[in-house]
Protein backbone atom coordinates (compact mmCIF):
# COMPACT_ATOMS: atom_id res chain seq x y z
CA UNK A 1 0.00 0.00 0.00
CA UNK A 2 1.01 3.59 -0.65
CA UNK A 3 -0.43 6.02 1.84
CA UNK A 4 -1.14 9.66 1.06
CA UNK A 5 0.03 11.55 4.14
CA UNK A 6 -0.36 15.00 2.63
CA UNK A 7 -2.64 15.97 -0.23
CA UNK A 8 -1.25 17.53 -3.40
CA UNK A 9 -2.81 19.99 -5.84
CA UNK A 10 -4.11 17.42 -8.33
CA UNK A 11 -2.76 13.90 -8.13
CA UNK A 12 -4.67 11.20 -9.98
CA UNK A 13 -4.22 7.64 -11.13
CA UNK A 14 -3.92 7.44 -14.92
CA UNK A 15 -3.03 4.84 -17.51
CA UNK A 16 -3.04 4.59 -21.30
CA UNK A 17 -6.65 5.83 -21.37
CA UNK A 18 -10.18 4.54 -21.74
CA UNK A 19 -10.97 4.03 -25.40
CA UNK A 20 -14.16 2.70 -26.95
CA UNK A 21 -16.68 4.95 -25.18
CA UNK A 22 -16.40 8.29 -26.92
CA UNK A 23 -19.68 7.66 -28.76
CA UNK A 24 -21.29 7.91 -25.29
CA UNK A 25 -19.54 11.16 -24.46
CA UNK A 26 -16.99 9.42 -22.23
CA UNK A 27 -13.57 10.80 -23.12
CA UNK A 28 -10.45 8.62 -22.98
CA UNK A 29 -8.47 10.64 -20.42
CA UNK A 30 -5.27 8.89 -19.44
CA UNK A 31 -1.78 10.20 -18.70
CA UNK A 32 -1.17 13.68 -20.14
CA UNK A 33 2.46 12.74 -20.87
CA UNK A 34 2.28 9.23 -22.27
CA UNK A 35 6.02 9.07 -22.87
CA UNK A 36 6.71 9.66 -19.17
CA UNK A 37 4.14 7.04 -18.18
CA UNK A 38 5.79 4.62 -20.56
CA UNK A 39 9.34 5.34 -19.33
CA UNK A 40 8.43 5.12 -15.64
CA UNK A 41 6.69 1.80 -16.23
CA UNK A 42 9.44 0.16 -18.26
CA UNK A 43 12.05 1.20 -15.68
CA UNK A 44 10.24 -0.98 -13.11
CA UNK A 45 9.43 -3.78 -15.55
CA UNK A 46 5.70 -3.02 -15.86
CA UNK A 47 3.46 -3.05 -18.88
CA UNK A 48 4.19 0.37 -20.46
CA UNK A 49 0.57 1.48 -20.06
CA UNK A 50 0.10 0.23 -16.49
CA UNK A 51 -1.57 2.63 -14.05
CA UNK A 52 0.72 5.33 -12.66
CA UNK A 53 0.23 8.30 -10.37
CA UNK A 54 0.22 11.62 -12.21
CA UNK A 55 1.35 14.46 -9.96
CA UNK A 56 1.03 18.20 -10.31
CA UNK A 57 3.15 20.53 -8.15
CA UNK A 58 2.74 20.93 -5.18
CA UNK A 59 2.47 17.16 -5.08
CA UNK A 60 1.30 14.71 -2.44
CA UNK A 61 3.60 13.32 0.26
CA UNK A 62 3.54 9.54 0.07
CA UNK A 63 4.42 6.83 2.56
CA UNK A 64 5.41 3.46 1.16
CA UNK A 65 4.21 0.82 3.59
CA UNK A 66 6.22 -1.98 1.98
CA UNK A 67 9.52 -2.38 0.16
CA UNK A 68 8.83 -1.24 -3.40
CA UNK A 69 10.62 -0.58 -6.65
CA UNK A 70 9.50 2.71 -8.20
CA UNK A 71 10.53 5.08 -10.96
CA UNK A 72 9.76 8.75 -11.53
CA UNK A 73 9.57 10.31 -14.98
CA UNK A 74 8.27 13.39 -16.76
CA UNK A 75 8.53 16.51 -14.64
CA UNK A 76 11.30 16.86 -12.05
CA UNK A 77 9.72 17.95 -8.77
CA UNK A 78 12.84 17.64 -6.61
CA UNK A 79 11.89 14.26 -5.17
CA UNK A 80 13.33 13.34 -1.77
CA UNK A 81 13.13 10.17 0.26
CA UNK A 82 13.73 10.96 3.89
CA UNK A 83 15.78 14.05 2.96
CA UNK A 84 17.79 12.19 0.33
CA UNK A 85 17.34 13.65 -3.21
CA UNK A 86 16.25 11.30 -6.00
CA UNK A 87 16.66 11.68 -9.73
CA UNK A 88 13.96 10.99 -12.26
CA UNK A 89 14.25 8.31 -14.96
CA UNK A 90 15.96 5.71 -12.74
CA UNK A 91 14.61 2.63 -10.98
CA UNK A 92 14.65 3.32 -7.24
CA UNK A 93 14.40 0.76 -4.47
CA UNK A 94 12.21 2.24 -1.75
CA UNK A 95 12.51 0.47 1.57
CA UNK A 96 9.42 0.10 3.71
CA UNK A 97 8.11 3.05 5.67
CA UNK A 98 10.01 5.51 3.50
CA UNK A 99 8.41 8.88 2.85
CA UNK A 100 8.57 10.35 -0.63
CA UNK A 101 8.07 14.09 -0.95
CA UNK A 102 8.47 16.59 -3.74
CA UNK A 103 10.29 19.75 -2.78
CA UNK A 104 10.46 22.09 -5.75
CA UNK A 105 9.25 22.34 -9.35
CA UNK A 106 12.62 21.98 -11.07
CA UNK A 107 11.30 21.25 -14.55
CA UNK A 108 8.08 20.20 -16.22
CA UNK A 109 4.42 20.29 -15.23
CA UNK A 110 3.62 16.65 -14.45
CA UNK A 111 5.62 13.96 -12.71
CA UNK A 112 4.71 10.28 -12.95
CA UNK A 113 5.33 7.54 -10.40
CA UNK A 114 5.32 3.95 -11.58
CA UNK A 115 5.34 1.23 -8.96
CA UNK A 116 6.54 -2.27 -9.79
CA UNK A 117 3.51 -4.52 -10.19
CA UNK A 118 1.26 -1.58 -10.95
CA UNK A 119 -1.48 0.02 -8.89
CA UNK A 120 -4.36 -2.24 -8.00
CA UNK A 121 -7.53 -0.17 -8.17
CA UNK A 122 -10.70 -1.53 -9.72
CA UNK A 123 -10.74 -0.49 -13.37
CA UNK A 124 -13.79 1.35 -14.78
CA UNK A 125 -14.75 0.46 -18.34
CA UNK A 126 -11.44 -1.30 -18.80
CA UNK A 127 -9.17 1.50 -17.62
CA UNK A 128 -7.57 2.73 -14.40
CA UNK A 129 -7.64 6.35 -15.51
CA UNK A 130 -9.44 8.71 -13.17
CA UNK A 131 -12.45 10.32 -14.86
CA UNK A 132 -13.00 13.33 -12.63
CA UNK A 133 -16.31 14.46 -14.16
CA UNK A 134 -17.82 10.98 -14.09
CA UNK A 135 -16.43 10.38 -10.61
CA UNK A 136 -15.26 6.95 -11.72
CA UNK A 137 -12.01 5.11 -12.38
CA UNK A 138 -8.68 5.51 -10.63
CA UNK A 139 -8.96 6.02 -6.89
CA UNK A 140 -12.70 6.29 -6.20
CA UNK A 141 -13.09 8.50 -9.25
CA UNK A 142 -11.35 11.46 -7.63
CA UNK A 143 -8.01 13.05 -6.96
CA UNK A 144 -5.89 11.57 -4.18
CA UNK A 145 -6.59 12.87 -0.71
CA UNK A 146 -4.94 12.60 2.67
CA UNK A 147 -5.22 9.13 4.25
CA UNK A 148 -5.95 7.37 0.95
CA UNK A 149 -4.20 4.02 0.75
CA UNK A 150 -3.44 2.90 -2.79
CA UNK A 151 -3.11 -0.86 -3.22
CA UNK A 152 -0.14 -2.18 -5.21
CA UNK A 153 -0.09 -5.50 -7.05
CA UNK A 154 2.43 -7.80 -5.36
CA UNK A 155 5.18 -9.22 -7.60
CA UNK A 156 7.51 -11.99 -6.58
CA UNK A 157 9.80 -12.69 -9.47
CA UNK A 158 13.57 -13.20 -9.41
CA UNK A 159 14.18 -9.46 -9.53
CA UNK A 160 11.97 -8.86 -6.50
CA UNK A 161 13.55 -11.66 -4.49
CA UNK A 162 17.05 -10.43 -5.32
CA UNK A 163 16.19 -6.81 -4.51
CA UNK A 164 14.71 -7.76 -1.15
CA UNK A 165 17.74 -9.86 -0.31
CA UNK A 166 20.24 -7.22 -1.35
CA UNK A 167 18.54 -4.37 0.50
CA UNK A 168 17.38 -6.45 3.46
CA UNK A 169 19.01 -4.20 6.04
CA UNK A 170 18.35 -0.91 4.36
CA UNK A 171 15.54 0.99 6.03
CA UNK A 172 13.72 4.18 5.19
CA UNK A 173 15.86 4.91 2.18
CA UNK A 174 15.60 5.25 -1.56
CA UNK A 175 18.39 3.45 -3.38
CA UNK A 176 18.71 4.20 -7.10
CA UNK A 177 19.84 1.35 -9.31
CA UNK A 178 22.87 2.26 -11.38
CA UNK A 179 21.23 2.99 -14.75
CA UNK A 180 18.92 5.61 -16.15
CA UNK A 181 16.73 6.15 -19.18
CA UNK A 182 17.83 8.78 -21.67
CA UNK A 183 14.56 10.48 -22.57
CA UNK A 184 15.91 13.44 -24.55
CA UNK A 185 14.72 12.06 -27.88
CA UNK A 186 11.16 11.78 -26.58
CA UNK A 187 10.74 15.52 -26.12
CA UNK A 188 11.24 18.35 -28.53
CA UNK A 189 12.28 21.88 -27.70
CA UNK A 190 9.09 23.09 -26.01
CA UNK A 191 9.16 26.43 -27.80
CA UNK A 192 8.29 24.87 -31.19
CA UNK A 193 5.20 22.68 -31.34
CA UNK A 194 4.63 20.79 -34.56
CA UNK A 195 1.09 20.64 -35.94
CA UNK A 196 -0.85 19.39 -38.92
CA UNK A 197 -3.51 21.72 -40.31
CA UNK A 198 -7.19 20.97 -39.85
CA UNK A 199 -10.43 21.38 -41.72
CA UNK A 200 -11.11 25.05 -41.05
CA UNK A 201 -7.50 26.20 -41.43
CA UNK A 202 -8.14 27.33 -45.03
CA UNK A 203 -11.02 29.47 -43.77
CA UNK A 204 -8.72 31.61 -41.62
CA UNK A 205 -8.00 34.99 -43.18
CA UNK A 206 -4.59 35.04 -44.93
CA UNK A 207 -3.34 37.41 -42.21
CA UNK A 208 -4.46 35.00 -39.48
CA UNK A 209 -2.88 32.03 -41.27
CA UNK A 210 0.36 33.90 -41.35
CA UNK A 211 0.11 34.91 -37.67
CA UNK A 212 -0.58 31.32 -36.66
CA UNK A 213 2.89 30.22 -37.67
CA UNK A 214 4.87 33.46 -37.48
CA UNK A 215 3.75 34.79 -34.10
CA UNK A 216 4.28 33.17 -30.71
CA UNK A 217 1.51 32.19 -28.30
CA UNK A 218 1.69 32.03 -24.52
CA UNK A 219 0.09 29.41 -22.32
CA UNK A 220 -2.45 31.21 -20.11
CA UNK A 221 -3.23 30.39 -16.49
CA UNK A 222 -6.18 28.38 -17.82
CA UNK A 223 -4.20 25.28 -18.67
CA UNK A 224 -5.32 22.00 -17.22
CA UNK A 225 -5.99 18.39 -18.10
CA UNK A 226 -8.96 19.46 -20.27
CA UNK A 227 -7.17 21.97 -22.40
CA UNK A 228 -4.68 24.81 -22.73
CA UNK A 229 -6.03 28.26 -23.48
CA UNK A 230 -3.47 30.34 -25.31
CA UNK A 231 -2.82 34.06 -25.28
CA UNK A 232 -1.65 35.69 -28.46
CA UNK A 233 -2.84 37.72 -31.42
CA UNK A 234 -6.56 37.23 -32.13
CA UNK A 235 -7.20 35.15 -35.25
CA UNK A 236 -10.18 35.54 -37.56
CA UNK A 237 -12.15 33.43 -39.98
CA UNK A 238 -13.04 34.79 -43.41
CA UNK A 239 -16.66 34.39 -42.39
CA UNK A 240 -17.99 33.47 -39.01
CA UNK A 241 -20.43 30.63 -39.37
CA UNK A 242 -21.77 28.23 -36.84
CA UNK A 243 -20.68 24.64 -37.25
CA UNK A 244 -22.40 21.48 -36.11
CA UNK A 245 -20.74 19.71 -33.21
CA UNK A 246 -18.55 16.82 -34.28
CA UNK A 247 -15.97 14.48 -32.77
CA UNK A 248 -12.71 16.11 -31.72
CA UNK A 249 -9.46 14.63 -30.46
CA UNK A 250 -6.56 15.21 -28.14
CA UNK A 251 -4.30 17.85 -29.61
CA UNK A 252 -7.06 19.58 -31.61
CA UNK A 253 -6.52 23.36 -31.72
CA UNK A 254 -9.84 25.19 -31.84
CA UNK A 255 -10.52 28.86 -32.47
CA UNK A 256 -12.81 30.25 -29.77
CA UNK A 257 -15.35 33.01 -30.57
CA UNK A 258 -13.06 35.59 -28.93
CA UNK A 259 -10.34 34.87 -31.51
CA UNK A 260 -8.11 32.93 -29.15
CA UNK A 261 -6.90 29.36 -29.42
CA UNK A 262 -7.43 26.38 -27.17
CA UNK A 263 -5.52 23.10 -27.42
CA UNK A 264 -7.56 20.11 -26.28
CA UNK A 265 -5.72 17.82 -23.88
CA UNK A 266 -6.38 14.44 -22.22
CA UNK A 267 -9.72 15.27 -20.55
CA UNK A 268 -11.19 17.10 -23.57
CA UNK A 269 -14.87 16.80 -24.41
CA UNK A 270 -15.62 14.18 -27.04
CA UNK A 271 -17.42 16.62 -29.35
CA UNK A 272 -17.17 20.30 -30.14
CA UNK A 273 -18.31 22.85 -32.67
CA UNK A 274 -15.62 25.54 -32.73
CA UNK A 275 -13.53 25.86 -35.90
CA UNK A 276 -10.68 23.35 -36.01
CA UNK A 277 -7.49 25.10 -37.02
CA UNK A 278 -4.82 22.48 -36.50
CA UNK A 279 -3.79 19.49 -34.42
CA UNK A 280 -0.66 19.07 -32.34
CA UNK A 281 1.12 15.98 -33.65
CA UNK A 282 1.00 13.01 -31.28
CA UNK A 283 4.78 12.96 -30.96
CA UNK A 284 4.77 16.48 -29.48
CA UNK A 285 1.98 15.91 -26.95
CA UNK A 286 4.44 14.78 -24.21
CA UNK A 287 6.41 18.01 -24.71
CA UNK A 288 3.20 20.04 -24.50
CA UNK A 289 2.04 18.13 -21.41
CA UNK A 290 5.18 19.29 -19.60
CA UNK A 291 4.74 23.01 -20.34
CA UNK A 292 3.61 25.37 -17.59
CA UNK A 293 1.43 28.50 -17.84
CA UNK A 294 3.39 31.48 -19.25
CA UNK A 295 5.46 29.20 -21.51
CA UNK A 296 5.86 30.65 -24.97
CA UNK A 297 5.26 28.40 -27.97
CA UNK A 298 5.24 28.72 -31.75
CA UNK A 299 3.54 26.42 -34.20
CA UNK A 300 5.25 24.74 -37.10
CA UNK A 301 3.07 23.12 -39.74
CA UNK A 302 4.34 19.77 -41.00
CA UNK A 303 2.86 17.30 -43.52
CA UNK A 304 0.49 14.64 -42.22
CA UNK A 305 2.71 11.68 -43.12
CA UNK A 306 5.66 13.26 -41.35
CA UNK A 307 3.57 13.43 -38.16
CA UNK A 308 3.07 9.68 -38.33
CA UNK A 309 6.79 9.14 -38.87
CA UNK A 310 7.63 11.26 -35.81
CA UNK A 311 5.42 9.08 -33.63
CA UNK A 312 6.97 5.92 -35.07
CA UNK A 313 10.42 7.28 -34.24
CA UNK A 314 9.34 8.01 -30.65
CA UNK A 315 7.85 4.53 -30.36
CA UNK A 316 11.09 3.00 -31.63
CA UNK A 317 13.05 4.94 -29.05
CA UNK A 318 10.75 3.71 -26.28
CA UNK A 319 11.12 0.18 -27.57
CA UNK A 320 14.88 0.55 -27.53
CA UNK A 321 14.71 1.84 -23.95
CA UNK A 322 12.55 -1.09 -22.93
CA UNK A 323 15.04 -3.59 -24.35
CA UNK A 324 17.93 -1.79 -22.71
CA UNK A 325 16.12 -1.89 -19.35
CA UNK A 326 15.50 -5.62 -19.67
CA UNK A 327 19.15 -6.15 -20.46
CA UNK A 328 20.23 -4.15 -17.41
CA UNK A 329 18.00 -6.22 -15.17
CA UNK A 330 19.44 -9.44 -16.59
CA UNK A 331 22.99 -8.23 -15.95
CA UNK A 332 22.05 -7.04 -12.49
CA UNK A 333 20.46 -10.39 -11.67
CA UNK A 334 23.55 -12.26 -12.77
CA UNK A 335 25.69 -10.42 -10.22
CA UNK A 336 23.11 -10.12 -7.45
CA UNK A 337 20.98 -13.25 -7.51
CA UNK A 338 22.29 -16.30 -5.76
Amino acid sequence: MIQVIQQGLLDTIQDGGRYGYQHLGINPGGAMDRAAMYVANILVGNNPEAAVIELHFPAAVLLFEEDTLIALSGGDFGAMVNEQPLDINQPIWISQLSILRFTKPVAGARCYIAVRGGLNNTPWLGSHSTHLKAGAGGFEGRKLEKNDRIPVNPVDEDIDKALRQKYLHVTQLGTPLPWRADVRDLYSDGSMIRVVTSLEYPELTPASQSLFTSHYFTLSEQCDRMGYRLKGPALHMVKEEERLSAGITRGTIQLLPDGHLIILMADHQTTGGYPRIAHVVSADLPTLAQLLPHSRISFQIIPHDEAEELLIAAEQHLHFLQNACNLRWQEWLQTNHK
Binding site: Y19, G20, Y21, Q22, H23, L24, G25, I26, P28, W124, L125, H131, K133, A134, G135, A136, G141, V196, S198, L199, R243, L244, S245, A246, G247, I248, T249, R250, G251, T252, Q269, T270, T271, G272, R276, H279, V280, V281, S282, H304, D305, A307, E308, L311, I312, E315
Partner: protein, 233 residues
Protein backbone atom coordinates in the same frame (compact mmCIF):
# COMPACT_ATOMS: atom_id res chain seq x y z
CA UNK B 1 -17.22 8.32 -57.81
CA UNK B 2 -19.98 10.67 -56.87
CA UNK B 3 -20.21 10.79 -53.13
CA UNK B 4 -22.05 13.06 -50.74
CA UNK B 5 -19.38 13.00 -48.06
CA UNK B 6 -15.75 13.97 -47.56
CA UNK B 7 -13.02 12.12 -45.65
CA UNK B 8 -10.24 14.12 -44.06
CA UNK B 9 -7.58 13.51 -41.45
CA UNK B 10 -8.47 15.00 -38.05
CA UNK B 11 -4.97 15.27 -36.68
CA UNK B 12 -2.54 12.40 -37.07
CA UNK B 13 -4.55 9.72 -35.23
CA UNK B 14 -8.10 10.17 -36.41
CA UNK B 15 -10.14 10.91 -39.49
CA UNK B 16 -13.52 12.49 -40.00
CA UNK B 17 -16.20 11.68 -42.54
CA UNK B 18 -18.50 14.64 -43.06
CA UNK B 19 -21.83 14.95 -44.81
CA UNK B 20 -23.68 18.19 -45.60
CA UNK B 21 -23.70 20.37 -42.50
CA UNK B 22 -27.34 20.25 -41.46
CA UNK B 23 -29.41 18.78 -38.66
CA UNK B 24 -31.74 16.43 -40.48
CA UNK B 25 -32.84 12.87 -40.11
CA UNK B 26 -31.88 12.20 -43.74
CA UNK B 27 -28.25 13.13 -43.09
CA UNK B 28 -28.19 11.48 -39.67
CA UNK B 29 -29.53 8.23 -41.11
CA UNK B 30 -26.53 8.16 -43.42
CA UNK B 31 -24.19 8.72 -40.46
CA UNK B 32 -25.80 5.94 -38.45
CA UNK B 33 -25.83 3.62 -41.42
CA UNK B 34 -22.06 3.88 -41.84
CA UNK B 35 -21.61 3.77 -38.04
CA UNK B 36 -23.60 0.55 -37.72
CA UNK B 37 -21.80 -1.02 -40.65
CA UNK B 38 -18.45 -0.18 -39.10
CA UNK B 39 -19.55 -1.74 -35.81
CA UNK B 40 -20.52 -4.99 -37.51
CA UNK B 41 -17.23 -5.05 -39.42
CA UNK B 42 -15.28 -5.11 -36.12
CA UNK B 43 -12.26 -3.56 -37.74
CA UNK B 44 -8.83 -3.74 -36.13
CA UNK B 45 -6.82 -0.65 -35.04
CA UNK B 46 -9.94 1.44 -34.39
CA UNK B 47 -10.22 2.86 -30.87
CA UNK B 48 -13.37 4.96 -31.13
CA UNK B 49 -16.10 5.79 -33.60
CA UNK B 50 -17.97 8.97 -32.71
CA UNK B 51 -21.21 9.64 -34.60
CA UNK B 52 -22.50 13.23 -34.63
CA UNK B 53 -25.22 15.17 -36.50
CA UNK B 54 -23.54 15.00 -39.87
CA UNK B 55 -20.17 13.36 -39.26
CA UNK B 56 -18.38 10.31 -38.05
CA UNK B 57 -15.00 10.61 -36.34
CA UNK B 58 -12.78 7.55 -36.28
CA UNK B 59 -9.92 7.43 -33.78
CA UNK B 60 -7.27 4.83 -34.49
CA UNK B 61 -4.03 3.49 -33.07
CA UNK B 62 -1.29 4.65 -35.46
CA UNK B 63 1.34 2.46 -33.82
CA UNK B 64 -0.70 -0.72 -34.11
CA UNK B 65 -1.42 -0.04 -37.80
CA UNK B 66 2.21 0.67 -38.52
CA UNK B 67 3.38 -2.41 -36.66
CA UNK B 68 1.21 -4.67 -38.80
CA UNK B 69 0.86 -2.80 -42.09
CA UNK B 70 3.68 -1.37 -44.07
CA UNK B 71 1.69 1.66 -45.06
CA UNK B 72 0.62 5.10 -43.94
CA UNK B 73 -1.96 4.64 -41.15
CA UNK B 74 -4.45 7.18 -42.55
CA UNK B 75 -4.44 5.46 -45.95
CA UNK B 76 -4.79 2.05 -44.32
CA UNK B 77 -7.79 3.06 -42.21
CA UNK B 78 -9.36 4.79 -45.20
CA UNK B 79 -9.30 1.60 -47.23
CA UNK B 80 -10.47 -0.49 -44.27
CA UNK B 81 -13.60 1.61 -43.81
CA UNK B 82 -14.37 1.96 -47.53
CA UNK B 83 -16.87 -0.93 -47.66
CA UNK B 84 -19.01 0.71 -44.95
CA UNK B 85 -19.22 3.90 -46.99
CA UNK B 86 -20.46 2.19 -50.11
CA UNK B 87 -22.84 -0.14 -48.27
CA UNK B 88 -26.49 0.33 -49.10
CA UNK B 89 -28.57 2.25 -46.56
CA UNK B 90 -30.33 -0.24 -44.35
CA UNK B 91 -33.47 1.03 -42.74
CA UNK B 92 -32.83 1.09 -39.03
CA UNK B 93 -36.37 1.20 -37.68
CA UNK B 94 -36.06 -2.16 -36.00
CA UNK B 95 -32.65 -1.59 -34.47
CA UNK B 96 -33.33 1.76 -32.84
CA UNK B 97 -34.85 1.75 -29.37
CA UNK B 98 -37.74 3.96 -28.37
CA UNK B 99 -37.09 5.28 -24.86
CA UNK B 100 -39.89 6.87 -22.89
CA UNK B 101 -38.29 9.35 -20.52
CA UNK B 102 -40.47 10.79 -17.74
CA UNK B 103 -39.99 14.51 -17.19
CA UNK B 104 -41.40 16.71 -14.46
CA UNK B 105 -42.07 20.20 -15.87
CA UNK B 106 -42.81 21.72 -12.46
CA UNK B 107 -41.56 25.35 -12.31
CA UNK B 108 -39.17 24.35 -9.50
CA UNK B 109 -37.29 22.29 -12.15
CA UNK B 110 -38.23 24.19 -15.31
CA UNK B 111 -36.12 27.20 -14.47
CA UNK B 112 -36.63 28.88 -17.85
CA UNK B 113 -40.23 27.86 -18.62
CA UNK B 114 -41.72 31.16 -17.51
CA UNK B 115 -39.14 33.20 -19.40
CA UNK B 116 -39.70 31.11 -22.56
CA UNK B 117 -43.47 31.37 -22.28
CA UNK B 118 -43.24 35.16 -21.97
CA UNK B 119 -40.87 35.44 -24.88
CA UNK B 120 -42.82 33.09 -27.14
CA UNK B 121 -46.21 34.50 -26.19
CA UNK B 122 -47.61 31.11 -25.26
CA UNK B 123 -48.53 29.35 -22.05
CA UNK B 124 -46.14 27.04 -20.20
CA UNK B 125 -48.61 24.22 -20.83
CA UNK B 126 -48.30 24.81 -24.58
CA UNK B 127 -44.52 24.62 -24.39
CA UNK B 128 -44.73 21.36 -22.43
CA UNK B 129 -47.30 20.04 -24.85
CA UNK B 130 -45.11 20.84 -27.86
CA UNK B 131 -42.04 19.35 -26.17
CA UNK B 132 -43.79 16.06 -25.34
CA UNK B 133 -45.66 15.67 -28.62
CA UNK B 134 -42.67 14.69 -30.77
CA UNK B 135 -40.41 11.68 -30.97
CA UNK B 136 -36.80 12.82 -30.99
CA UNK B 137 -33.68 11.15 -32.32
CA UNK B 138 -30.49 11.00 -30.27
CA UNK B 139 -28.16 12.52 -32.85
CA UNK B 140 -25.09 12.21 -30.69
CA UNK B 141 -23.70 12.17 -27.17
CA UNK B 142 -21.08 14.64 -26.02
CA UNK B 143 -20.19 17.52 -23.69
CA UNK B 144 -20.62 15.26 -20.63
CA UNK B 145 -20.71 11.45 -20.26
CA UNK B 146 -24.17 10.41 -21.44
CA UNK B 147 -25.42 13.87 -22.56
CA UNK B 148 -27.82 13.20 -25.47
CA UNK B 149 -28.19 15.83 -28.20
CA UNK B 150 -31.69 15.31 -29.57
CA UNK B 151 -33.75 17.02 -32.19
CA UNK B 152 -35.51 18.67 -33.61
CA UNK B 153 -37.92 20.45 -31.38
CA UNK B 154 -40.95 22.21 -32.84
CA UNK B 155 -39.83 25.55 -34.30
CA UNK B 156 -42.24 27.32 -31.95
CA UNK B 157 -40.19 26.29 -28.90
CA UNK B 158 -36.72 26.56 -30.42
CA UNK B 159 -34.65 28.93 -28.28
CA UNK B 160 -31.03 30.06 -28.54
CA UNK B 161 -28.60 29.15 -25.74
CA UNK B 162 -28.43 31.61 -22.87
CA UNK B 163 -25.75 34.22 -23.32
CA UNK B 164 -24.52 33.77 -19.77
CA UNK B 165 -24.33 30.09 -18.82
CA UNK B 166 -25.60 29.08 -15.36
CA UNK B 167 -22.89 27.89 -12.99
CA UNK B 168 -24.95 24.99 -11.69
CA UNK B 169 -27.54 22.97 -13.55
CA UNK B 170 -28.79 19.93 -11.60
CA UNK B 171 -28.37 16.39 -12.96
CA UNK B 172 -31.42 15.27 -14.93
CA UNK B 173 -32.29 18.77 -16.16
CA UNK B 174 -33.96 18.81 -19.57
CA UNK B 175 -33.15 21.76 -21.77
CA UNK B 176 -33.50 23.37 -25.16
CA UNK B 177 -30.71 24.96 -27.19
CA UNK B 178 -31.67 26.19 -30.63
CA UNK B 179 -33.62 23.38 -32.25
CA UNK B 180 -32.06 20.77 -29.99
CA UNK B 181 -33.20 19.27 -26.74
CA UNK B 182 -30.92 17.54 -24.27
CA UNK B 183 -30.56 16.18 -20.75
CA UNK B 184 -27.76 17.02 -18.32
CA UNK B 185 -26.64 13.62 -16.96
CA UNK B 186 -24.50 15.25 -14.27
CA UNK B 187 -24.68 18.53 -12.43
CA UNK B 188 -22.72 21.02 -14.50
CA UNK B 189 -22.45 24.62 -15.63
CA UNK B 190 -24.39 25.13 -18.84
CA UNK B 191 -26.26 27.45 -21.16
CA UNK B 192 -29.31 25.43 -22.22
CA UNK B 193 -32.81 26.72 -21.41
CA UNK B 194 -34.05 24.41 -18.66
CA UNK B 195 -37.70 23.36 -18.89
CA UNK B 196 -37.90 20.30 -16.62
CA UNK B 197 -36.11 17.44 -14.93
CA UNK B 198 -36.15 13.67 -15.30
CA UNK B 199 -35.85 11.31 -12.32
CA UNK B 200 -34.12 8.80 -14.62
CA UNK B 201 -30.39 8.46 -14.06
CA UNK B 202 -28.94 9.34 -17.43
CA UNK B 203 -25.45 8.34 -16.31
CA UNK B 204 -24.53 5.72 -13.73
CA UNK B 205 -20.90 4.64 -13.65
CA UNK B 206 -21.81 1.57 -11.58
CA UNK B 207 -23.68 0.03 -14.51
CA UNK B 208 -22.02 -2.02 -17.26
CA UNK B 209 -23.78 0.27 -19.71
CA UNK B 210 -23.36 3.56 -17.85
CA UNK B 211 -25.22 5.81 -20.29
CA UNK B 212 -29.01 5.63 -20.61
CA UNK B 213 -29.12 6.97 -24.15
CA UNK B 214 -27.13 5.70 -27.12
CA UNK B 215 -26.61 7.28 -30.52
CA UNK B 216 -29.58 6.61 -32.79
CA UNK B 217 -32.07 6.00 -29.96
CA UNK B 218 -35.53 7.51 -30.27
CA UNK B 219 -36.85 9.39 -27.28
CA UNK B 220 -40.34 10.43 -26.20
CA UNK B 221 -40.79 12.64 -23.15
CA UNK B 222 -43.65 11.73 -20.82
CA UNK B 223 -44.84 14.48 -18.48
CA UNK B 224 -45.10 13.52 -14.80
CA UNK B 225 -46.22 15.36 -11.68
CA UNK B 226 -43.98 16.45 -8.84
CA UNK B 227 -45.38 13.61 -6.71
CA UNK B 228 -44.62 11.03 -9.37
CA UNK B 229 -41.15 12.51 -9.75
CA UNK B 230 -40.38 12.04 -6.06
CA UNK B 231 -41.75 8.50 -6.10
CA UNK B 232 -39.45 7.59 -8.98
CA UNK B 233 -36.24 8.81 -7.35
Amino acid sequence: MNSDYTINPLGDHSLIIEWSQEISSVVHDKVMNVYNHLLTMQLPYILDIIPAYASLTIVYDILLVRREQNNNAFTTIQSLIAPALTAPVVHMEKSSRLLEIPVCYDPSFGLDLAMMAAQKGMSEAEIINLHTSKIYTVYMLGFLPGFPYMGKVDDRIAMPRQKKPRLHIPAGSVGIAGGQTGIYPLASPGGWNIIGQTPVKMFDPALDSPCYCHPGDEVKFVPISLDEFHKMI
